[in-house]
């Protein structure tokens, strides 16, 4: 066979290294380059808007606490999944998601369609102590989020960075991001108080409020889309 020629290759370290590089580049190029072009041309789903300043802060906290380690955000096109969660995930939903948060393990349920499913007060209690809502839950309690004031000092810079990457934020949205975030937080705090949850001033502008804003934003654009059941697999 080519044993002898390979022996010759084994004595040439530079050539061997270049061959190795070639072998791993082929698959890399095929899998990375064509979808890169798709990315630029991919339209957002109708009604999909970039996250508000408060929602983005909430999303960053969601990532910081590793919520995506246990909660997927990717509904598969199976009847049992669309029955449980809602419309299966589509590409146009993710155009503002940096990073993507599809996850790899559902220790807890998928959250891609959780927006609007429960009232704000449900989320507040659930974050504080999941076992008050569901005694069998093994989710950690995130009570500290309800007591930590939200830091908006980077909000403007965050939206500006996301705008550089392609999110269509207006000038005012970027510049006034912090005050917008606080105004939105006030509205959520009001809805919590209306549901009988007593909040002190720190709690009313806590990180938990931002997380709730983010969770409530999930899956709205897709909810307006009809579900084509013919596309579903019967699993």
């Amino acid at each position: 066979m080519a044993d002898g020629r390979h022996r010759a290759l084994e004595s040439r370290s530079l050539r061997f290294t270049l061959f190795t590089l070639g072998a791993v580049l082929v698959g890399g190029i095929v899998l990375l380059i064509p979808p890169a072009f798709l990315q630029g041309t991919m339209p957002p789903l109708a009604g999909q808007r970039p996250y508000s300043a408060l929602e983005q802060e909430g999303r960053d906290i969601y990532v910081r606490e590793g919520c995506n380690v246990c909660h997927s955000q990717q509904v598969r096109p199976f009847k049992t999944e669309t029955d449980r969660y809602g419309h299966y995930s589509v590409a146009g939903e993710g155009v503002y998601d940096r990073p993507f948060l599809w996850g790899s393990r559902r220790t807890g349920p998928d959250l891609a369609r959780v927006g609007g499913k429960y009232p704000d007060s449900w989320h507040w209690i659930h974050l504080e102590d999941p076992r008050r809502i569901e005694p069998r839950s093994n989710m950690p309690a995130f009570a500290f989020l309800t007591k930590t004031p939200l830091d908006t000092s980077l909000s403007s810079k965050k939206l500006a960075t996301l705008r550089t990457l392609g999110a269509p934020y207006g000038e005012e949205e970027v510049n006034d991001a912090a005050s917008h975030a606080l105004a939105d937080a006030k509205a959520i705090a009001a809805s919590l108080r209306a549901d009988g949850i007593a909040l002190d001033e720190t709690q009313a502008r806590s990180e938990a409020i931002a997380v709730i804003a983010y969770l409530q934003s999930l899956g709205h654009a897709i909810a307006a889309q009809p579900l084509d059941t013919a596309k579903l697999e019967d699993r």
């Binding site: 190795t20 899998l31 990315q39 590409a91 993507f100 069998r136």
Partner: protein
């Protein structure tokens, strides 16, 4: 060059000792943290405050065991093996020191930043951008050091272990640079350069090949170097090495999209991922067989030698998990297994069985030689082997049952077509397996503690200084492979 060929080459073993010790440390830390993470899933009251809850603890576990422990053993093995296979000292002692201290500083910084919540959110690539830059710098240092050594080598042929290490160095650099691209907001916050589907595509191209080129190719390199040494037999087939090396590295890089089956990733990419994953079984088993058949005529040694037991068990787990992986890439199987504990079980049969066992055997081989003495206790090593094997079975079996149970419950329907179980019912149903898994992990960890005691005792009785008289006759004089490398 020729003038030195009569004298003994003075290899730099300090860097190997450093990495062997740091690997022991990170192994204990990373696996203890893994045990904590397992406990947190079984008993949620084991989560504490902002710094020690599962969401932050889990990436500390994965980073410590992959980048601290496994890569520490790999660095130790590469620095040990490359010098001997090239018959020359490392290219630069300074670069070796920078590699050792730089890498361990990164691991410390990784643990601290992850516990304080600074994460990019991408699995196995969680570290924020300044650390990503530091990783790139240290990796380049490592690469220059190894390629510089290859360039100056006094042995014409490159032995197969080196092929796998070359592939590791090149591919990890490529994966890390591509996947870590991000735009900083501040020193500890950045946003991925990619969004949504494309971010997922590039992340799992990276993620799966981190498995391929951190947990497979460099470990195969360790196997190709240390197994023949320990067995005192040349590797079974050079031709099989060639076939399996080139096919493995060519095919692996395509397999990433099997993490994204039934996702919004374009179908053609999913199909490539699944097809190449299934093809991957051939080169994987080629490597397994080349290792196992090396024992031909020496199987009796396995009975009394715990190191060989570990190499063989490692290869066997490699064979099993590289059979299981392709199966899980088949759409209908993936529909059941994805998002369940089956995946966690699969990963750990590879990580504890293949990577763990091979790394343990490598440390048991290296440390007595690095400190010029004998292993403190073969019986402790034997006990470690059985604890590890039992621990893996106690870990992986409940994860399989748990995964299949939950997967089936998610899809179960009543006669009228409605869902049979709420999500929380599926959580409650697998709680018992989370408890069992904790105990499996505890048994595995107990084995690691035995190893650390054994190896530290070994070091206590030895000395880093080269003894005055010729080395004691424990390093077998028999050459590895063909031609005395």
């Amino acid at each position: 060059m020729a003038t030195e060929s009569i004298g003994r080459v003075e290899y730099d073993m300090a860097v190997v000792r450093g990495f062997a010790l740091s690997a022991l440390l990170w192994g204990v830390v990373g696996m203890a943290v893994g045990l904590l993470a397992a406990a947190q899933l079984a008993w949620p009251e084991w989560n504490w405050g902002p710094y020690l809850h599962f969401g932050r603890v889990r990436p500390v576990h994965t980073n410590a065991v992959i980048f601290g422990f496994t890569l520490g053993v790999v660095f130790a093995g590469v620095y040990y093996g490359v010098q001997r296979l090239c018959r020359v000292r490392m290219f630069s002692d300074t670069l070796s020191r920078l590699n050792l201290w730089g890498w361990n500083a990164i691991i410390v910084a990784a643990a601290l930043t992850l516990l304080s919540g600074h994460t990019s959110g991408k699995e196995y690539a969680e570290l924020e951008w300044p650390l990503d830059v530091a990783i790139a710098v240290v990796w380049v240092i490592f690469a220059i050091n190894v390629f510089g050594t290859l360039w100056r080598r006094r042995e014409q042929q490159l032995y197969s272990a080196i092929w796998f290490w070359i592939a590791t160095i090149l591919t990890i650099a490529m994966l890390h640079l591509a996947n870590s691209a991000a735009l900083p907001v501040s020193w500890l916050k950045s946003y991925s350069a990619y969004a949504g589907v494309y971010d997922a595509n590039i992340q799992w191209w990276y993620g799966h090949n981190a498995v391929g080129f951190l947990l497979t190719t460099p470990i195969l390199g360790l196997m190709y170097y240390f197994l023949p040494k320990q067995a005192e037999r040349p590797i079974y087939s050079h031709r099989l090495s060639i076939l399996h090396f080139w096919s493995l590295i060519f095919i692996y890089i395509w397999a990433g999209p099997h993490h994204l089956i039934y996702s919004p990733l374009p179908d053609w990419a999913q199909t490539f991922g699944a097809a190449f994953s299934i093809a991957l079984i051939f080169p994987s088993w080629g490597g397994m067989l080349n290792g196992l058949l090396t024992l031909k005529g020496a199987w009796h040694k396995v009975r009394t030698d715990p190191l060989l037991k570990m190499f063989i068990a490692g290869l066997t787990f490699y064979g099993m998990s590289t059979f299981e992986g392709p199966m899980m890439s088949i759409k209908s199987v993936n529909a059941l297994s994805h998002f369940t504990n089956w995946t966690i079980g699969h990963v750990h049969s590879g990580a504890l069985g293949w990577v763990g066992m091979t790394c343990f055997a490598t440390l048991y081989y290296l440390i007595p030689r690095l400190w010029h003495t004998r292993l403190y206790s073969l019986r402790l090593a034997e006990a470690h082997f059985w604890a590890a094997t039992l621990g893996i079975l106690l870990y992986v079996t409940p994860m399989w049952v748990s995964g299949v149970t939950q997967g089936l419950m998610w899809r179960a329907t009543n006669p009228d077509g409605s869902l049979a179980y709420t999500f929380i019912e599926t959580v409650a149903a697998i709680r018992i397996y989370d408890v069992l898994r904790f105990f499996g992990g505890a048994v595995f960890f107990a084995g690691v503690v035995l190893m650390v005691v054994n190896l530290l005792q070994t070091i206590r009785h030895g000395s880093a200084a080269i003894p005055a008289e010729p080395e004691p006759p424990l390093a077998p004089a028999v050459a590895v492979a063909a031609g005395g490398r």
